[in-house]
């Protein structure tokens, strides 16, 4: 796979929900190519299909029709177990509400994806501690989420998204629950990741945050309205 090959390719992807008798087209034929090292922001008003697209990209949901190629392989028809495997091995998730597991410590939260990959305990621990230090939580390795500030929790989320060295990092409004100071901090970290060559797809509704990205995809009513590179 060369740098020119897309890391994510969507071909005429549709996602239709049935609501009783009516059909709701959350995505009505989306075709997009994302390339390695890109920092993409997906924007649009609520109800435009952002979340649906992110769920599809995150292999949490499957398209009703069309194809989704991740790293050159068609994942649109895979079974549940295989999708879990892909999520754990190839994708990193950063959520708006951090989504840390409350009963686990910082280190344990970071190593969850590795745990489901069957990585031995000491290797998990090693990688997890290393990442926690990298995001500046070296002093809080054994704290629980409720002992951390929002910014700190989101840094744990970022470390967790990085621990399995994913092909793509998917971020869903990563600063949505943070004050502006912590938000800026998190965005700076995302910029750093981009600088290190990570592929990031971020969903947001805030144009100011969208500006951090190098490519901006606007969605409206389930179709791509605009796709600009800067």
């Amino acid at each position: 796979m060369t740098a020119a090959d897309p890391i994510v390719r969507l071909e005429e992807v549709r996602r239709t929900y049935r609501m009783g008798d009516t059909e709701l087209h959350a995505l009505a034929g989306v075709s997009l190519d994302f390339f390695p090292g890109e920092y993409i922001a997906i924007m649009g008003p609520s109800g435009c299909g952002k979340s649906t697209l992110l769920n599809l990209l995150g292999c949490l949901d499957q398209p009703s029709s069309g194809r989704y190629l991740l790293g050159g392989e068609d994942v649109s028809l895979l079974e549940d177990d295989a999708l879990s495997q892909i999520r754990g091995a190839r994708l990193g998730f950063i959520f708006q509400s951090y989504n840390l597991i409350q009963q686990l410590t910082v280190v344990e939260n970071i190593e969850v994806p590795l745990f489901y990959q069957g990585v031995p305990e000491h290797k998990c621990r090693e990688a997890s501690i290393q990442l926690a230090e990298k995001v500046g939580l070296g002093q809080r390795l054994y704290h629980r989420p409720n002992e951390l500030s929002g910014g700190q929790q989101q840094r744990v989320g970022i470390a967790r998204a990085l621990v399995n060295d994913p092909l793509v990092i998917l971020a869903d409004e990563p600063t949505g629950n943070l004050d502006s100071h912590s938000g800026t901090e998190i965005l700076r970290m995302m910029d750093d990741l981009h600088a290190q060559g990570k592929t990031i797809i971020m969903v947001t509704h805030d144009p100011a945050i969208g500006k951090h990205a190098q490519r901006l995809v606007r969605l409206r009513d389930g179709v791509v309205e605009s796709d600009e590179r800067r």
Partner: protein
């Protein structure tokens, strides 16, 4: 393009002991988050398991006690007892009237002579009278019997000796007291070498013997005569009893009086081979019935009683098993209830885990292990308490209890099984959640 076969070719995550240990640690952490709830849930299983063990121990002890009592009667023995015949109309005209019934010396002689394989025949006469030592008085059951009585009844002599054949022959006034009689008659002094008075006769105390337990025979023997079943207090030689008390016994009670003539109240027949016990009992019955118009005796076969006790024990065990099953079922339902609540409450966590790569089976395993931890912990605590309870019962209620080794093992493995059985449904519910919905759950 080969539809993503590369993903499936990933080696599936094997369930190694190390991995199982990590999942268990995870389970402990999640349960520890809700200590009170987990503790209360465990309590249901604890009660179930410990009541199973305690009930089995009490049941086992009671049946052992019953069997022990029957065994003391001797499984090779046949017990013959005189009983007052029913419908014995008292002729209203007769002024002097003596009720005559029961076993005779002749009967025993016949049994001994005609039936092969019968070695020891142990007759006894039972008289109720007052026994005195100075001012200490006791309404005692006096048994006139033979010198091999303790041996046949498997009674332990605690002090002194039993009477000898010579004393039997000589109708000596000697007696052996039970511990119960010693307590009443010799509360302060040593019984050996003392004398007790019955009527106008004095008897030398030559020995002390353990008190007989007649409970089992009493409860299972049908329609036994009054005198025949009271536990003996004093033993004297049969010859002496015959000589001192005569053949006719007068029983004065509540204004009326009743004279009975009974040669022997009780006799033990020992059969050499246990196989022949039941058959011999039938033959004896035939022989005794031949000379009688009315049935004035009963035959008790301890071996039969023993079998009966075993059957009773089986039924007892089935009933206990059912109660145990129900109590554990209730505990199991409690666990399922809590786990269902827990699954709903942790929907978000399930979504997170699924997003981070957990397969359905990982979620199933996680919740199943949590349930098994709950029921297993309950089982362990229950076993510990369940073993303790019988000890306490024995200490305070003076009841024999026996904890058989399989009872805790059985109870514990059932509790473990309950964890699996009642854990499966909540675990499946957890695993079948749509990750997208689960992540959105508040």
């Amino acid at each position: 393009m080969s539809a993503g076969n590369a993903w499936q070719s990933h080696a599936p995550v094997a369930l190694s002991p190390a991995r199982l240990r990590r999942i268990m640690m995870l389970g402990f952490k999640s349960l520890w988050m809700h200590r009170l709830r987990s503790g209360l849930t465990i309590l249901g299983i604890v009660f179930g398991v410990c009541s199973v063990i305690a009930m089995l121990a009490v049941g086992e002890g009671a049946s052992y006690e019953a069997q022990e009592q029957i065994r003391k009667l001797g499984s090779n023995n046949i017990i013959l007892r005189s009983i007052k015949p029913i419908n014995q109309d008292r002729p209203s005209q007769a002024r002097q009237w003596v009720l005559e019934y029961g076993l005779t010396y002749l009967d025993l002689q016949k049994i001994r002579e005609t039936i092969p394989g019968v070695t020891i025949v142990m007759p006894s006469r039972i008289v109720r009278d007052q026994v005195w030592n100075g001012v200490n008085r006791m309404d005692a059951t006096i048994v006139g019997t033979v010198d091999w009585y303790p041996e046949t009844r498997q009674l332990n002599l605690l002090q002194g000796r039993y009477f000898t054949p010579v004393e039997m022959e000589a109708r000596s006034n000697v007696c052996v007291l039970t511990t119960k009689a010693v307590e009443t008659l010799f509360p302060l002094s040593a019984p050996l070498g003392g004398k007790v008075r019955v009527g106008s006769d004095y008897y030398d105390v030559i020995g002390v013997i353990e008190t007989e337990s007649t409970g089992a025979a009493q409860s299972t023997g049908q329609g036994s005569g009054k005198a025949a079943t009271a536990a003996p207090d004093i033993y004297i030689p049969l010859s002496a009893a015959r000589h001192r008390f005569g053949e006719i016994l007068v029983n004065r009670s509540s204004g009326s009086f009743e004279a009975t003539r009974v040669e022997l109240h009780e006799a033990y027949v020992r059969v050499d081979d246990q196989k022949d016990v039941e058959e011999t009992a039938l033959i004896i019955e035939e022989i005794l019935k031949r000379d009688r118009r009315k049935t004035d005796f009963e035959i008790i076969v301890p071996l039969e009683l023993l079998r009966q006790a075993e059957r009773t024990k089986q039924i007892f065990n089935i009933v206990l098993g059912a109660i145990a099953a129900i109590s554990l079922l209730v505990g199991g339902i409690g666990i399922m209830n809590i786990m269902l609540a827990s699954v709903t409450e942790r929907t978000r966590e399930i979504g997170i885990r699924r997003a981070l790569g957990a397969r359905r089976r990982d979620i199933i395993l996680q919740f199943l292990i949590e349930t098994v931890i709950l029921s297993g912990t309950g089982g362990l605590v229950g076993v510990a308490i369940g073993i303790l309870i019988p000890v306490v019962i024995t200490m305070f209620a003076d009841m024999r209890t026996i904890v058989t080794p399989w009872a805790p093992i059985l109870a514990f493995s059932i509790s473990g099984m309950i964890g699996v059985v009642f854990g499966i449904y909540p675990a499946l519910r957890a695993a079948d959640m749509d990750p997208v919905q689960a992540l959105r759950h508040e």
